[in-house]
Amino acid sequence: MLDWIRFIITALFLIGGLSMLVTAVIGVYKFDYVLNRMHAAGMGDTLGLLFCLIGLTVSAPDIWTALKLLLIICLLWVASPVSSHLIARLEVTTNPDWYQLTGAEKDEDQEVEA
């Protein structure tokens, strides 16, 4: 009986996480600019990984596997925002039309000589 309860909790969490990942992929296809796409990808990835790994933790065979899965969650929650930030900075630096897209004031440091 306990096995079935664990199975049902795992299945619910895995289905939730997979639906988050599917939403992220749909968002990556739907939006039309890189920063919008990156928003969808970053948010969906983080929450999807959290749900999937919590679901797997519930039915892990021993305590060390469960702790390692939680460690992966901690690592990715630190690493994923940092990589999103780096990708956003790459896009802002290398796209010369970025200021026209957002309507923001042009920064003095970023100005390209005409």
């Binding site: 997979l18 796409r37 790459l90």
Partner: protein
């Protein structure tokens, strides 16, 4: 139907859905117009492969496979950081060269 059959069916279904998602991300990476687009897609593929390795670890009942997943998370993060730094460095260097050429002209 025992609970282990149910577990195995669930894990195989999860792996199939993840495969489809990875192929979709890969198409986005091939087609993406800008560099940032491709790096975002590669980042998503890395996350989904981490989940796949964890699912396979529990499906086979081998706990040590989660170590592989941990290392994969670190390497995929490192790849994104290095790619961003390299592309930004190349772009800034090329722009500095162009400015230098215009100044001399």
């Amino acid at each position: 139907m025992s609970v282990w059959d149910a577990y195995s069916a669930l894990y195989i279904a999860v792996l199939c859905v993840q495969t489809v998602l990875i192929i979709a991300c890969f198409i986005r990476a091939v087609k993406g117009p800008s560099i940032a687009d491709r790096i975002v897609s590669i980042n998503m593929i890395g996350t989904q492969i981490i989940i796949m390795i964890c699912v396979v670890a529990l499906m086979l009942g081998q706990g040590y496979l989660t170590d592989v997943s941990l290392i994969y998370a670190m390497i995929s993060f490192l790849a994104v950081v290095v790619l961003c730094k390299v592309y930004m460095g190349v772009y800034l260097e090329r722009r500095a060269q162009q400015e230098e050429a215009q100044r001399h002209a």
